[in-house]
């Protein structure tokens, strides 16, 4: 099938899509957007998290055909040119990245949290990131980065 959708603000059209393949596969293998990561393919790890119509979802659980006509924002769509999104900047500064595989999903999930909550409490942060697994950091640096991004967002 031909799939048309808007990705990171641009209209995209790809041909020969198998409708049962995942949106994650379309993004990575057909659109050249490898930011969203492919790990568990069953919604457990959150490393493929993208916005679908403004709502964070696991792109591995969206059938390609379901994205037809909809808006997708991936981690690649958060920075403004060379200017990192404040969430990305905070992850860099706080060393919240080790192997980096889980980072794109955590960035999108954190971005969404800070859109909804100014200065989230630690339990709120943990709840919001409960679907994103990191096997390197032990999460402490990630929590530091989320708090830093939240603080900056609150004063800006």
């Amino acid at each position: 099938m031909r799939l048309r959708c808007e990705v990171n603000g641009e209209s995209r059209e790809v041909d020969d899509v198998w409708p049962g393949e995942s949106l994650l596969y379309v993004l990575r293998e057909r659109m050249g957007l490898p930011g969203s990561k492919n790990a568990c393919e069953q919604g457990e790890c959150g490393s493929c998290t993208v916005y679908l119509d403004g709502v964070p979802v696991c792109s591995c659980l969206v059938a390609a055909g379901q994205a037809e006509g909809h808006e997708v924002t991936t981690v690649e769509g958060l920075a403004e040119g060379e200017q990192l999104d404040p969430v990305q900047q905070a992850f860099v500064e706080k060393g919240a990245v080790q192997c980096g595989f889980c980072t794109p999903g955590l960035i999108v999930a954190t971005h969404d949290l800070l859109e909804r909550r100014e200065r989230p409490s630690d339990p709120e942060i943990r709840e919001a990131l409960a679907g994103n697994l990191c096997r390197c950091t032990g999460y402490e640096k990630i929590l530091d980065a989320v708090r830093l991004a939240a603080d900056r967002k609150a004063v800006s």
Binding site: E41, V62, A63, D112, E127, A130, G131
Partner: protein, 285 residues
Amino acid sequence: MEFHKPRTWPEALAIKAEHPDATPIAGGTDVMVELNFDVHRPDVLIDLTEIAELREWFTVDGRYRVGSGVPYARIIDELGATLPGLAMASRTVGSPQIRNRGTVGGNLGAASPAGDAHPPLLAAGAEIEVASVRGTRLIPADEFYTGVKRNAMEPDELIAAFHISPADGPQQFAKIGTRNAMVIAVCSFGLALHPSTRTVGTGVGSAAPTPRRAADAEAFIAGELDWDSPLPLRDSVKRRFGELVAQSASPIDDVRGTAGYRQHALSVMARRTLGWAWDEYRRNR
């Protein structure tokens, strides 16, 4: 593989009538896992996410009619105050990403004994609205689950909605798992006090081939509660209720837990949730 994207409900029913083997997909949290792992490759997929009415809920004759495509996140946000049991269960579903996509309709269609929505639907006496080109019918929740991952639907039917009364008393839900988030139930229990009918509803999850009510426990506790001058419940009553709930189950040993553990955990969850709900009823009188 054929992929259909109906825009209207009659269109979806016509496709399902033509392709009774078609797999409906909404949030994709079950169907896509099977596709990604090549466990099941249906010849026909019907995407239900473009049908606006499946994502709506409204009140009919004092009861909610909740479209099968309303995701858990919206049940929590929009119906949490009036369907507290279902909302508690919904909060334990997966992660935020999963709750944004997963639907009660999907839980019902999959009919896994471990589905989180089933115990509160059973406890509240919900009914499931299924439809085909032949017409629409309501199936009581306790007649809906017929076997492991089997339900009472005909091959040409789709799930339109569920009907459920706003809570008329305290409701509780408890679930055992290895962590708080992203966990499938080892076993679970839903409870609803119904002061208007002086009855108690129950639902047992993940401890039998199907989700089921604990009928003997419901009958026992209905005879014990004094709704007009509610005193604290005696421990012996709570314990007996827990035993009867555990006896209603027929669990198996599997990778998530043993049958014996499940029965013990059910008796504890039933005893505790009954105590919490009754205390809330007493406080609010």
